[in-house]
């Protein structure tokens, strides 16, 4: 079988100084980030040690075949090794001046520290002598050899590292010394023998016939055997558990594989004219344009990272004796890299006897603040265009800038960790019920509400508390969704907490710690960290840099951005953040608190007199609600959704009532009291539903209980007319939830229109256009959008519910019961409640298309959780949606993501075209 696939790519120069590099920076999918950028640096004339890179595809073939090498691959590697020796002018294993190589992983997408590396490969019982000779340092030589055996045993052979550490300790005891550094060259030589013995004892010779001799496995002396095993180990590290976990957390595909780069070692530890370091071309924390990094004289790379010796700031390199030239070269490299890559770069370098070598470069990670600053500066410097500047900031990262955070300069111990459900940090006394939270607030105390999970009943407590902590539920649990909507910090699903709400305490599993009511705790909803005691918080704001970049994003974006807000304070906040209107004002929260009794009475006592009274009471308070909202958003659209949840959500829990009745019976309570409870029970039971999500809710309420709808529309219009008479410019829109059929919206539009006309007339206000529209949140509605649009001025896609019904996933149940398993087993690429699924998106696309066909003027928006998710926004941008609506704190994120979506669209790289 002919070997047709190119599996190995050389980089660096040949013996005559000619560049023989075969790859470039665009070949990351083949060569990994490290290999591709080493090739690129060689191409642009930067000093890179010679080497070669084995492709990621070879890794996947090897892995998919059950760790069997593709035919011919090892021969090719052998050829490249021989070529490398020729280019380097040295041979691996040479007892006089041996070539040593590093074997490094490098995936197409950076996974720092996740996979394995083998250094100093090529050392054996002969070449150790050459190394000692070249470095003139026997101690370094033996230390390198014993380290090589140790790391090879660990990384390549999987031998327990403690065996080696133990041997070191035994020798230190024997020698009566405390530190490794006190061991002599001779000690280390003896240790090397001991390590070889441990190796032989722990390797199965039948498993490694290439190492076997006389029935015993020996540490390999043949460098080609070392190389083959090391490459196999790096390939294998693609599938080590921490790499798999990292990929899952970072949404990286498992199908890419890692490249392996074999590169001639250079030594930063050949005396005082040698050094090694890491650097960024700008400050990655602040974005300031300054040299940033550290180096160590006479050291190897791992010493810099290990932090054993104190590093020097990079700015001193130029003035350090023997390193001046290298320092100047490095400054030039910084400049070449930035003008070549047009970005802030992160580099590793080594200076070997005065000569600078570049070992790695990649785009540098940076804080949100730095990202903004660098984007703005580079645009000013002419390095990048304005659209590129907008693309340079990660919208997800902006969250950091919009909420209070733990002060990272202070020390604190993490007590437990949960899901980072709603960003921001909070400090307060632990309380275990909504009522206690309200009481604490009234007493002037800051508190954190700690619950197993929250329910709509907890809303008052959630508002009163600084933040919310739950032991149950996922990122779209009630607590998480509501907290995000309010912009309140929330950590949820902290499984280590065993909460006893009755005792007002929470035990922390695996510790003796019990959090009692009143104990101060701190939570960080951006990280999921929970701390016992108070952590200092830092309060960021909308910085000038952020405003600049968001302004640029606004210039590009074609999607509108609105906010989901239910109260005037949130409305004002969203306006400050740049929301162009309210895309979703939920009204169910307006029925809680002291209003809950009214709605309960409405539900349970259906005598006409009582209902009328309840409706009159509700009309009064609802009118006040809408006055506040419309005033806060004066001149901007406020889309108000009519009552959506099933009415039994406002009633007592039948289970609690069951137990209460049982106790009343046992305790001989009066028969009439029991009878009254039983009657209530029967009423609640009659309303209970097997699957409330699919039951009597949404527009079905407005059909079965039309007077509730009529009251709400009347309240909206009364508020509108009052403001109009005050000379303001209220712009309400009325939204019907959970429509499935054309007939529903046709009937309700008629019902609503009549009330609007009536109130205009009663109030003596000149009628003006009040848009009436629907949520599209059921598959049937999406498919029937052409018919529904005939009766709707706008659609708002309720992507939470649409995801639930399209998948048949109950959000509450699925995120606890099986979505974690699904993500673990790669049955879902992402949680579809966080980022819009492609099939749900298809339904949205169908609905936009069909709706626009029958009603070309229809206005199309998204108001589900996905409206604030950058990945989803990019997908929405090209299916015909006009705007997204999200929680107030996500408005800046949505503006940026929408700008980026538009830029990608202009570049011809948007979602549907990419496919």
């Amino acid at each position: 079988m002919t070997e047709e696939v190119k599996r190995v790519y050389a980089f660096g120069k040949d013996a005559d100084g000619n560049n023989v590099t075969e790859g470039n920076t665009n070949m990351k999918p083949q060569l990994g980030g490290k290999g591709a950028n080493l090739a690129e640096m060689a191409n642009i004339g930067l000093p890179v040690p010679p080497g070669f890179t084995i492709t990621c595809q070879t890794c996947m073939e090897f892995s998919n075949a059950g760790n069997v090498w593709p035919e011919g691959a090892l021969d090719t590697i052998h050829q490249y090794r021989l070529d490398l020796e020729k280019r380097a002018g040295k041979q691996i294993g040479d007892p006089d001046d041996p070539l040593l190589v590093s074997v490094r992983s490098g995936a197409p997408i950076s996974m720092p520290g996740m996979m394995d590396t083998v250094l100093n490969l090529g050392l054996n019982d002969q070449s150790i002598n050459g190394l000692i000779k070249q470095t003139n340092n026997p101690r370094f030589g033996w230390d390198s050899y014993r380290r090589f055996i140790q790391i090879f045993s660990d990384v390549v052979m999987g031998i327990d590292g403690d065996l080696f550490e133990n041997a070191i300790n035994v020798m230190k005891n024997d020698r009566g010394v405390k530190e490794d550094t006190e061991l002599t060259a001779e000690d280390l030589q003896e240790l090397t023998d001991e390590f070889k013995r441990i190796f032989s004892e722990n390797v199965d010779p039948e498993k490694y016939p290439e190492l076997a001799q006389d029935g015993v496995a020996h540490f390999p002396q043949d460098p080609m055997v070392q190389l083959k095993l090391a490459i196999e180990a790096v390939f294998g590290s693609w599938n080590n558990p921490r790499a798999i976990l990292y990929r899952k957390q970072n949404k990286i595909s498992d199908d890419m594989g890692t490249a392996v780069t074999v590169m001639a070692m250079v030594f930063g530890n050949k005396g005082d004219t040698s050094a090694t370091g890491v650097a960024f071309t700008r400050n990655p924390a602040t974005g300031k344009k300054e040299f940033y990094g550290d180096y160590l004289v006479n050291a190897q790379g791992e010493d810099v990272v290990a932090g054993i010796r104190n590093t020097q700031p990079i700015s001193t390199l130029k003035t350090t004796k023997g390193l001046e030239k290298a320092g100047e070269d490095l400054e030039e490299v910084f400049s070449i890299l930035e003008s070549h890559f047009h970005d802030m770069m992160d580099i590793e370098f080594t200076i070997e006897q005065g000569k600078l070598y570049m070992l790695q470069t990649r785009v540098g990670k940076r804080t949100a603040q730095a990202a903004l600053r660098i984007a703005i500066d580079m645009e000013k410097e002419g390095l990048i265009t304005k659209d590129e500047a907008v693309m340079r900031v990660d919208p997800d990262q902006l969250d950091q800038l919009l909420h209070p955070q733990f002060d990272k300069s202070k020390k604190y111990d993490i007590l437990a960790k949960g899901l980072n459900a709603s960003p921001g940090a909070a400090v307060g006394e632990a309380v275990f019920s909504s009522a206690d939270a309200v009481a604490a607030k009234e007493a002037g105390k800051k508190c954190v509400l700690v619950r197993w999970e929250t329910t709509p009943d907890d809303l008052a407590g959630m508002i009163a508390a600084e933040g919310v902590l739950t032991s149950h539920g996922g990122k779209t649990s009630h607590a998480a969704v509501i907290a995000r909507g309010m912009g309140a910090p929330c950590v949820c699903g902290v499984e280590a907490l065993k909460i006893d709400a009755d005792k007002k305490e929470a035990k922390v599993t695996g510790t003796d710690i019990v959090i009692h009511e009143g104990d101060t705790i701190s939570i960080d909803g951006s990280t999921g960290n929970v701390v016992l005691g108070a952590v200092d918080l830092v309060m960021p704001g909308l910085s000038d840099d952020l405003n600049t970049v968001l302004g640029w994003a606004d210039e590009f974006r074609t999607l509108g951005v609105r906010a989901n807000a239910d109260n005037p304070a949130d409305a004002q906040r969203s306006r400050d953040f740049g929301a162009e209107g309210i895309g979703l004002c939920r009204t169910e929260h307006m029925f809680l608190g002291d209003r809950k009794q009214i709605i309960q009475s409405y539900i349970l006592d259906d005598s006409e007199d009582n209902r009328k009274k309840c409706l009159a009471d509700l009309l009064k308070v609802q009118t006040e609600d809408f006055l506040g909202m419309l005033k806060a958003m004066d001149g901007r659209r406020v889309i108000i959704r009519l009552l959506d949840p099933p009415l039994h959500e406002f009633l007592e829990s039948p289970r609690a009532l069951d137990v209460e009745i049982a106790h009343m019976e046992d305790n001989g309570a009066p028969a009439d009291e029991i009878a009254a409870k039983r009657k209530l029970m029967a009423q609640i039971d009659a309303m209970s539903e097997a699957n409330p999500m699919l039951g009597l809710r949404g527009c079905r309420l407005g059909i079965v209980y039309p007077d509730l709808n009529i009251m709400q529309v009347r309240a909206i219009m009364t508020a509108t007319c009052q403001l109009k008479k005050q000379g303001l410019d209220p712009q309400p829109g009325i939204m019907v939830p959970l429509v499935a059929t054309e007939a529903e919206i046709a009937m309700l539009r008629d019902q609503i229109s009549k009330v609007i006309a009536d109130v205009f007339e009663e109030q003596g206000v000149e009628p003006f256009d009040i848009p009436i529209g629907t949520m599209i949140e059921l598959p049937r509605a999406a498919l029937a959008a052409g018919d529904i649009a005939k009766h709707a001025d706008f659609f708002s896609f309720g992507t939470n519910d649409l995801t639930q019904t399209t998948f048949g996933f109950s959000r509450d149940d699925a995120e606890a019961a099986f979505i974690p398993t699904y993500l673990d087993k790669h049955l879902l690429p992402v949680n579809p409640f966080a980022t819009i699924d492609d099939r749900v998106l298809e339904l949205i696309h169908i609905a936009c298309k069909r709706g626009s066909e029958t009603n070309p003027n229809i206005h199309l928006g998204v108001c589900g959780e996905h409206g604030g998710d950058p990945d989803s926004i990019k997908k929405f941008n090209n299916v015909g949606v006009h705007y997204v609506s999200c929680s107030p704190y996500r408005v800046p994120i949505a503006r940026l993501a929408a700008g980026q979506a538009a830029i990608q669209h202009n570049r011809g790289k948007d979602y549907f075209r990419d496919k």
Copy 2:
């Protein structure tokens, strides 16, 4: 404005005997069934009295305009009236020989008895004399006049009929007579005056200015006023409550309107050479080709229907003196009608002084048995083709023939009425619990299970009982679905029953009757009737005629028909009925009864030892289950669905447990017992779900609990191999429920395939193809069908669940909470759980298309409730589905419906093309 629409169509002859008919039988949408067929009869030379028909469209315009006549319409009617007088040679209101007319309704689709009719119109204080003169019968004349006033007052003016009945009774008392017939002509003349007085007293002159004189409304003497008001009343009767209800029950559109036919009256009561009657061209009960009908000599039509006098069989007409010629003419008419309409016709006729007049004809209604017989006979007679014969039988009607029925020749009193949820009748002692049903069966007693509603726990009782009666739940409630599946009679939703299961009795609202345990009751699931006591049953079978017609249907149909069956008895039954295989074998029912404890233990005690033991136990019993099924269907495909429902369905109700714990606490039960209960409670709570329909069920179970799937597949394959070794031909297919994504089916296919291969090897059986497929029952699955099909040998559309998620309707909740309201308010044309919705169908169409594109060999079926619904089957026929699967008793219905669908397809009239 020019009158361009033709609103009135003449029929019959002119004065010279020339046919001047303007319509024909194809104009039912304009002229209604009656008007169109009167025109047709006139066209083919049958004797029809002259008349004209006002179109249905005029009715709708009148109604939509708020009971206002379209411009010019009244003028046109006036012209046609004048023309009619000319053609009849008589004038309305003529005091010497008046023309009287009937004003009759006639909708495009027959709605017998639902709308109003006015006879003898044209009588007034002058023309009464002409009528008396012509009939030489003053008593008949006055009786006709007073009846006309009475009927006009009732139908046209809406005056309370009791006022007139009361006046008659006052006069009878006054005259000292008992019967109406004892009143003399003079009495009736006096009564006529009294009726006119009642009329004046009860009509508001301001509302009817055309009747007002001196501030009093008078009975109209102007025939044109009579005619206008009568036509308006008939138009209005389209929207009377009983007509609306009838249309809803019969799925007839509200938008058609009724035509009004005005026709010259002929009199069957002008002496012994006059007669009137109704007839069918064949026997509508048996289908036999014989004259069938009744007549009365010297009578008017209503006398025949009223049943006051004994009618004569139509066969005697030819031999009755003075009627011989008319009798012969009628026989000829029968023959002309059948050869013209190619169907069995239902007619009304009148003989006036020896001359036969046809007053109406329409296709005759018939029993299922007659429909079969007539179709077969007419095919033999060459009147219709074989495909037309298949089209002539209503599949819904076949249900009558497939289940035991009440013997309608016996008398019985209906105690209460519910929904006809599962056809067939049952007689037995009432029992109020599943356990009592089982006990009764064991004691050799027949019983009927009476429950508020059934749950899966009642299954054993449902199997033991002859039938099921519930006071709650709709046609797709648990009781209804399961009973239909078992072919057991079920009446559900009998609201009049107040069941007290503890007391083992049911009160019947509005009566003193209480049904106690052991009382014999009879239920008829085909009608919804409940009877106290035993009703004799008749047991029909698959008759020769049915077999003939089904055989013909099989020749045409392209859809396969399979059955949904979970046990060998049902499997055998479905095979007898012609099922080609099992399309859905549910396995959850196999986990009930004594197996429930095993699955409970599996769920609650997850120690590895216990789980293994439970799985081993389950494997044993499941293997037996599948041995039975595969043996019964030897050589035919049996699609077995892996476990589908959420596991908590097998556990105790948390509410009952809550109450139990409360009582234990109050009664001082030992702490450890309470603790054990609390632990159980916590386990159940941890598994409970807010929306179980959208929770951890279906294939999600097989992913989270793979060992359950593996056990089931192992059982299927063990049974298969055992049968194979016995020389049989088992043909299992394995179906994965509730798939949403490609990844799920890819993973599970892999899991299942491994078990299949393992068992073949263990059992030493040569491997053969075991198809693995999926349910498509989620919108996402339908959209992703192209990807899913890569891993599926077949799709089976679970239309129940697909309807639930597409609509966002929980079947259990929606059918109780709002679907009735939706049907009432015309927000749904039909219950989408009974007949497939067009948007759900679109998803099926998409899935068939996409699935076949990526897997051209994929086999596509439907196994939801809709698979047995004729209307749905006709829709499925053209979206690419290969077969339907339904409950055993519906297999013949599905065969016929599938045959009809294919015939409609061949005629180019199938669903998608019709649109």
